[in-house]
């Protein structure tokens, strides 16, 4: 974070292959997942991933608003990704912008391919993702949080959807870019995996990579996703296992 905003490109990779924040090439940032922190939502989750902090809430299946979006053979999946004004160093102008609309769309489509929407015709499953603090990789953090929130809401689906970004920094393929690497690196490749089937349900890329680099990056991302998958499952187990301590809040 420290050198972001500096004019010259920071040294992103030491000769020993250590990254700006001290990680190895294939190392994830610390990840913490909490299932069910909100009581009003049908399901919720909070994710802290490196310096990212993301809250997700799921409502539904519920009545569709506005009515004309209703589909009479299945539920629709609506997603709203939003960054708080205070989530970045320079105040972000609140509200919808092209970036958040795009992210909302790709996340909603990723979930549409795993949710068994035919079980709830004429309803809507609404996913809200609020980025409270951003440090690169918020669409992946949002997807992870929303996916845990969907499971917490009891929505039937094929699997949880772990996600991670892979990228190219100083000529090397690295896992889970941070802000400096995202800004000054050569490529960014966010991806979301369905572990049960091995399918990718989100794949975007910015920058350049050779074909060989792309296939190495995908392998690295899939491995990363499995680590994240285990943390997501642990968070849900923690909330629903019999040893769960009594909560205080109402």
């Amino acid at each position: 974070m420290g050198s972001v905003g500096a004019k010259e490109v920071p040294v992103l990779l030491s000769p020993e292959g250590i990254r700006v924040d001290g990680r190895r090439l294939d190392e994830l940032r610390p990840l913490r997942v909490v299932a069910g922190p909100l009581h009003r939502a049908d399901g919720s989750a909070f994710v802290e991933w490196g310096a990212n902090k993301v809250m997700a809430a799921v409502y539904g299946p519920r009545e569709v608003h506005p009515r004309h979006l209703q589909q009479n053979n299945k539920a629709i999946v609506q997603c709203k990704y939003n960054m708080a004004a205070f989530s970045v160093d320079e105040r972000k102008r609140p509200g919808l912008d092209r970036r958040s609309q795009e992210i909302s769309k790709v996340i909603a489509e990723a979930f549409e391919s795993v949710i068994f929407a035919e079980e709830y015709p004429r309803t809507s499953i609404d996913v809200y993702i609020e980025v409270l603090q951003a440090n690169a990789g918020t669409r992946c953090a949002g997807l992870v949080a929303a996916s845990v929130a969907l499971a917490d809401a009891g929505i039937p689906m094929a699997d949880l959807v772990p996600a991670v970004a892979v990228g190219k920094v100083a000529g090397e393929i690295v896992l889970d870019l941070n802000k400096a690497e995202d800004n000054f690196g050569e490529a960014d490749l966010p991806m979301a995996l369905v572990p049960q089937s091995g399918r990718l349900v989100l794949l975007q890329m910015e920058g350049h990579m050779t074909r060989e680099e792309l296939s190495r990056a995908l392998d690295m991302g899939v491995k990363g996703c499995h680590v994240i998958y285990d943390k997501m499952k642990a968070a849900l187990r923690d909330r629903y296992s019999a040893a769960r301590p009594t909560e205080v809040a109402a």
Partner: protein
């Protein structure tokens, strides 16, 4: 896809359970494989390439010939015959729409009420925000939930308050043969109506309602652990806690109303 067994070919029995530890009641998450032993995928599961996976977060239940997952969370899924508590969200000329905590709003037609209503006069009987006890009558493939207000214990709820718990906990709120509601009612002096949709109507003195609220919160958060009855009885005790000053000399007037399918009780008269 799976052709390894025939419908009706049931090999599971007691010995099947003893050969390996029972998987019943283990917690599974969406996407986790459930060893099915030839059982067919039931609700809360799906099958790909002959393997059965969970589709919801819940507990595995083997119900030969099916293996299913009983959800631990999620909205109320209506079942015909359930008594549920709802609030009016919309009033139309011949019907009201009720929020019963299900995926859809449930229409209550004016012919499903004990009243004789002229078309267009629906809002003289129930308005937006009113609470009612209704019974789920029919479920259509479209997801429409038909409800009726004709029947014992059904009608408009007056006074009291509604406390919400997880619909998955309602069997614990009721207890075996209604034992839990009965003991909560008799220990607090409150009157309760339990809806299968996780809503509980409670009426009584403010102290009684507060204590029922505490008891329901314990059931909601901790109801899956054994010894629930004892914990509730410890909480409610045989006498109210010393900190509260009794306002009425002898409040336990209603506890003979133990099962919620009596007529709707009137709110207790103020002294």
């Amino acid at each position: 896809m799976d052709s390894g067994h025939l419908p009706g070919h049931r090999t599971r029995g007691r010995e099947g359970h003893s050969s390996h530890p029972s998987r019943d009641r283990t917690l599974v998450l969406p996407g986790e494989e459930i060893p099915s032993d030839g059982l067919r995928p039931g609700s809360g599961t799906y099958r790909v390439h002959g393997k059965v996976y969970a589709s919801v977060l819940g507990l595995v239940a083997e119900r030969p010939p099916f293996v299913q997952v009983l959800p631990l969370s999620g909205r109320y899924i209506p079942k015909a015959g359930d008594v549920v508590l709802g609030t009016v969200t919309d009033v139309q000329g011949t019907f009201w729409l009720l929020d019963i905590g299900a995926p859809r709003w449930a229409p209550l037609h004016m012919t499903g009420t004990p009243w004789r209503i002229e078309i267009g006069e629906t809002d003289r009987y129930l308005r937006v925000g009113d609470a009612v006890a209704v019974r789920v009558e029919n479920l259509e493939a479209t997801g429409r939930i038909g409800v009726t207000m004709v029947g014992d214990g059904l009608g408009r709820l007056e006074g009291g308050t509604i406390i919400t718990v997880s619909p998955a906990r309602i069997p614990r709120v009721i207890g075996r043969g209604g034992s839990m509601i009965q003991s909560i009612q008799s220990l607090t002096g409150a009157t309760m109506i339990v809806g299968q949709n996780g809503r509980v109507w409670v009426d009584g003195t403010p102290e009684a309602i507060g204590r029922v609220r505490q008891a329901l919160r314990i059931i909601d958060l901790d109801g899956h652990r054994p010894g629930l009855t004892e914990r509730i009885q410890d909480l409610l005790g045989s006498r109210p806690p010393d900190v509260t000053v009794p306002r009425l000399p002898a409040p336990p007037a209603e506890p003979e109303l133990a099962i919620p399918d009596d007529e709707l009780p009137e709110p207790p008269d103020e002294p």
